[in-house]
């Protein structure tokens, strides 16, 4: 009996650790305002073939290193029924700053302001840039980086684009998880 309790204890410990480490396999609907204060819900995009959520920053050099790649991504997929949404969860970056940054870098995609990092916490996002790709049922099909190098000239694996192309082709995503590398999301204390 004691041994069973012990086994159960260890099992629950490992399972809870696994649950803590892994992002949810399915996202819940949420509503956030963009930098103009207009509210958007995930459920607004149910007709999309894929929803790309990008946790991004205005001040993080790694995130900024991907600015032109984010613009290209949006332009290349906007007519393929793929929705690209930026989310800024950094506590020190205001909606006004996010708006100016978007203007400066030609971001035409929606950028939501996640005050108090509620959505970052729900997704388990910890870094910028960090990507989640969902299907219209909000299943998380891909989680991780945009590609495998901060320096565009060194990229050898276009992980996000590969995932999107497979989704658009009706295929299962081959690489569902990669490591996102970048700046810690500055969350509320």
């Amino acid at each position: 009996m004691k041994r069973n309790v012990l086994v159960l204890f260890f099992l629950s410990f490992f399972v809870s650790n696994l649950l803590l480490a892994a992002p949810p396999a399915k996202a819940e609907n949420f509503t956030l305002p963009d930098y103009n204060g207009v509210k958007h819900s995930l459920s607004d995009f149910k007709k999309a073939k894929a929803i790309v959520l990008m946790f991004i920053a205005t001040q993080c050099p790694v995130s900024n290193g991907y600015n032109t790649r984010m613009v290209s991504l949006y332009n290349d997929y906007k007519n393929k029924n793929v929705v690209v949404i930026g989310i800024n969860s950094n506590k020190q970056e205001s909606a006004e700053e996010v708006k100016q940054h978007a203007k400066d870098h030609g971001f035409e995609f929606t950028i939501l302001k996640d005050d108090k990092n509620v959505i970052a916490d729900k997704f388990g996002a910890s870094v910028t840039p960090e990507i989640f790709v969902l299907n219209p049922s909000f299943d998380i099909l891909y989680h991780g980086r945009i590609d495998d190098s901060r320096r565009e000239s060194d990229v050898t694996s276009h992980d996000l684009r590969n995932a999107l192309d497979e989704i658009l082709a009706g295929k299962p995503v081959t690489v569902t998880t990669t490591k996102a590398f970048g700046c810690t999301i500055k969350k509320i204390d």
């Binding site: 001040q59 960090e130 495998d148 490591k179 996102a180 590398f181 700046c183």
Partner: protein, 174 residues
Amino acid sequence: MRQRLFAALLLSTLCGGARTVVAQQNDTRPAVRTINDKELDSLIHNRNGKVLFLNIWATWCQPCVEEFPDIVKLSGMYREEKIDFAAVSVDYPDELESKVRPFVAAHNVPFNVYVANVKKDEDLINEVNPSWSGAIPATVMFDAQGKRQVFMFGQSPLSVFKTKLDSVLHLKDF
């Protein structure tokens, strides 16, 4: 005559070489250089009975830069203990001279500071902690057997570093 010239040349070469070795042996300044994945693996696992406090940072990372002086302070507080302090920067290797070395000099860093020279960021992540998301700053503490005991990311205050380091130092198995 030729023989004498040759002997003189040989002697001066040997002396020069010896001077270099002596200079290297006497040079106790901490290293500021690149580190590849094999060297990093060796740094982590060849502990020689010492704990390793390893900070992953970058000159472009504001919270990293903010917490770095506390790590310098911490290394001074534990000077007498069996601990190696080291930092691995994820600036690019070609930024070592222009960004990393000036930062190290400005902060009088008393421990070795390396710039990761790995093919992909993921190589560094997997070497340090495969569960790490890749967010910096990150701090890892390895015990004297090279076993990872503490992993934390995001900016941390000196008091937290101290508590965690004490816990690693006072582990019962060494």
